[in-house]
């Protein structure tokens, strides 16, 4: 059983607070994705779990053991480093087998596991090479294979696919998910690629400026963002926002329309809607098209609604052009409301 418990972990670098009291429990065999913008503290949190960084405050538990005082090698983890850290003086084979050699695994078993994981990462033809003779993406796959070969209880991956081309990334993503599910490994996976996060995660933890702002299933994070930040971060393009002025009895004026909203607010709220949750109708926001981007399966129209940028995803067979006037109606049940003070979702 390798559940991970992060209790009140904070990290300070000098006077800079990189992590603010993080609480996170990851259950056994769960695939947890840490998602967040560059510099929000994902790597720092991962390194604290690995034991490469000591938390300023808080506890880390893996399984039934408190591990924050243990060196990395006693934590039963394997890790894919953001900068790969593939050993330059060892061949790809010895790199992948490094941890197994340290664990004094028999030669036959090392060979078997190295070959299997190299195949999985499509680098089996590179086994005799040194890392100086590899491309960045190949080196990254060596780093992934090296971690997988350990067959650990817990695997920590810091943007393990960031350097691969789109096609390979898609394939590796599927492979990883399959392998880790099969081996019943608990995984923490760092990425800033939302699609990757959505497709891999059992649960996504969205990080922002050293805090976890929401921890939920991908659908939940997408459908019900808990904070204004999450709504503006998740989704490509992210949600549209308009300010909403209360008109009494749960009614709000949003742009040129009056809509039903959460009861009881007397202060203005923020109205939010996903671009794909807008439909063309007679009754909606008056929008002026500014930019049209055909994206293949659909069409992205960036419009102006009451002086605010507003994006809508439309059918690809529509013909809209710059300057067109559209009427965009939000679909029922897809609207979110945020409190501009606390940034939290109201409904």
């Amino acid at each position: 059983m390798a559940q991970i418990e992060i209790k009140g972990v904070a990290k300070q670098f000098g006077s800079y607070q990189a992590l603010h009291s993080i609480n996170l429990s990851i259950s056994d065999q769960e695939f947890m994705v840490l998602l967040g913008a560059s510099g929000c503290g994902k790597t720092t949190l991962l390194r604290i779990v690995a034991g490469l960084e000591t938390p300023t405050e808080g506890e880390v538990w893996i399984g039934d053991r408190r591990v924050d005082h243990l060196p990395p090698r006693d934590r039963g983890i394997a890790m894919v480093f953001q900068n790969y850290a593939v050993f330059p003086h060892l061949t790809v084979f010895e790199n992948i087998g490094f941890g197994l050699r340290m664990a004094k695994v028999s030669n036959d078993e090392v060979k078997r596991r190295v070959e299997r994981n190299a195949e999985l990462m499509h680098i089996e033809q590179l086994l005799a090479r040194y890392s100086g003779e590899l491309s960045g993406g190949q080196r990254q796959r060596v780093a992934v294979a090296r971690a997988l070969a350990m067959e650990p209880d817990v695997i920590l991956m810091d943007e393990p696919l960031s350097n691969l081309d789109a096609l390979l990334r898609l394939e590796m993503r599927a492979e990883l998910k399959g392998v880790l599910a099969e081996s019943k490994t608990t995984a923490i996976y760092v990425t800033h690629d939302q699609v990757e996060a959505m497709s891999l995660a059992d649960r996504i933890s969205v990080m922002h400026q050293g805090r976890i702002v929401q921890s939920a299933t991908p659908v939940e994070v997408y459908r019900n963002p808990a904070e204004h930040f999450v709504a503006g971060f998740i989704g490509n393009p992210p949600m549209n926002f308009l300010s909403a002025v209360p008109e009494g009895a749960g009614r709000y004026r949003v742009a040129d329309k009056v809509l039903d909203g959460p009861n009881g607010a007397s202060e203005p709220l923020v109205f939010a809607i996903r671009p794909e949750d807008l439909t063309l109708s007679n009754d909606g926001f008056a929008a002026t098209v500014k930019i049209v981007e055909p994206l293949g399966p659909h069409l992205l129209a960036t419009c102006d609604v009451a002086g605010t940028m507003f994006r809508a995803i439309l059918d690809s067979d529509m013909t809209v052009k710059h300057g067109d006037k559209l009427t965009l109606a939000p679909q029922d049940g897809r609207v979110r409301w945020f409190d501009p003070e606390s940034q939290r979702a109201v409904a």
Partner: protein, 281 residues
């Protein structure tokens, strides 16, 4: 100007300098070593090699190198590892440890002579605590082992720092991430030293060892100060040919023999610590 010639142009001054002050004297010495009354000859080599002191001085030189260099290698690796893990005070410690580098080898020999000689510190101390009833002459022909030990000590004290500074610089160049990866994948501190530090330090080890081994074959002043004629080495024999026996041809032949030994050992070291192509950091 053609860019292809630029590198050659840039190294031209150094090349000229080397030709003037290294190649030219080297050619002169070689001439002396090989020239006889009737044209080129190997007579001088035959002469120095067949002299009875040659085998013993060769043996002493090699023995000294074989004992001193490994001790220095181990010590400097240990010291370099310690220094590179220090935060505050690192530079101070490094300066203190490298002080002996600033002392000439003859002065170093004399310092250790002052310790070991009959009226030296060691004797005063032993006499003071009553360990000996009268001062002992440690550095006499009756105690060849102590003479050797004193020379080894003086050499270790004097010339470990030169390896230390090279290795400290080399260790500083190894990215921290490799240690972290090794740590995560189960390597103990000792394993990290053997599996990460040592192999990634090969280029620096090469430099340090080549320098140190060549210096070991040229050892002279320390030996002269501590052992006098009790411990003949190749360099002291060369000196004797040149200045006592006034035989510059023989001295030149000795010099070339030392050069030959240095070249061979350099090649051996470079080969042994070669980093395969593609395996460089």
């Amino acid at each position: 100007m053609n860019v292809r010639y630029l590198p050659y142009l840039l190294i031209l001054p150094v090349t000229l300098f080397l030709c003037l002050f290294f190649i030219y004297p080297f050619v002169l010495v070689s001439q002396q070593a090989f020239s006889g009354p009737e044209g080129p000859t190997l007579e001088h080599f035959r002469e120095v090699v067949s002299y009875w002191k040659f085998p013993i001085s060769l043996q002493n030189t090699l023995l000294l190198a074989a004992v001193v260099v490994p001790i220095q290698l181990a010590l400097s690796l240990l010291m370099a590892t310690m220094v590179s893990r220090m935060g505050k005070g690192r530079d101070l410690v490094l300066y203190v440890w490298t002080i002996p580098l600033g002392i000439s080898d003859l002065a170093a020999g004399i310092i250790w002579l002052a310790i070991f000689e009959q009226s030296g510190f060691l004797n005063s101390m032993l006499y003071g605590i009553g360990a000996v009833s009268e001062p002992v002459n440690f550095l006499s022909y009756q105690n060849p082992a102590i003479v050797f030990l004193a020379i080894v000590l003086a050499e270790v004290w004097r010339a470990t720092a030169i390896m230390l500074v090279i290795l400290v610089a080399g260790i500083g160049l190894i990215p921290k991430e490799y240690y972290e990866a090794a740590e995560v994948f189960g390597a103990s501190p000792w394993k990290r030293f053997v599996k990460i530090t040592l192999p990634l330090l090969r280029p620096s080890l090469q430099t340090a060892l080549v320098l140190r081994v060549i210096l070991a074959f040229e050892v002279f002043a320390v030996v002269a100060a501590l052992g006098g004629t009790l411990f003949p080495v190749l360099m002291s024999e060369t000196y004797a040919y040149q200045f006592d026996l006034l035989n510059s041809n023989a001295a030149a032949a000795m010099a070339l023999i030392i050069l030959g030994i240095s070249i061979v050992s350099t090649i051996v070291i470079l080969r042994a610590l070669r980093v395969p192509k593609g395996a460089r950091v």
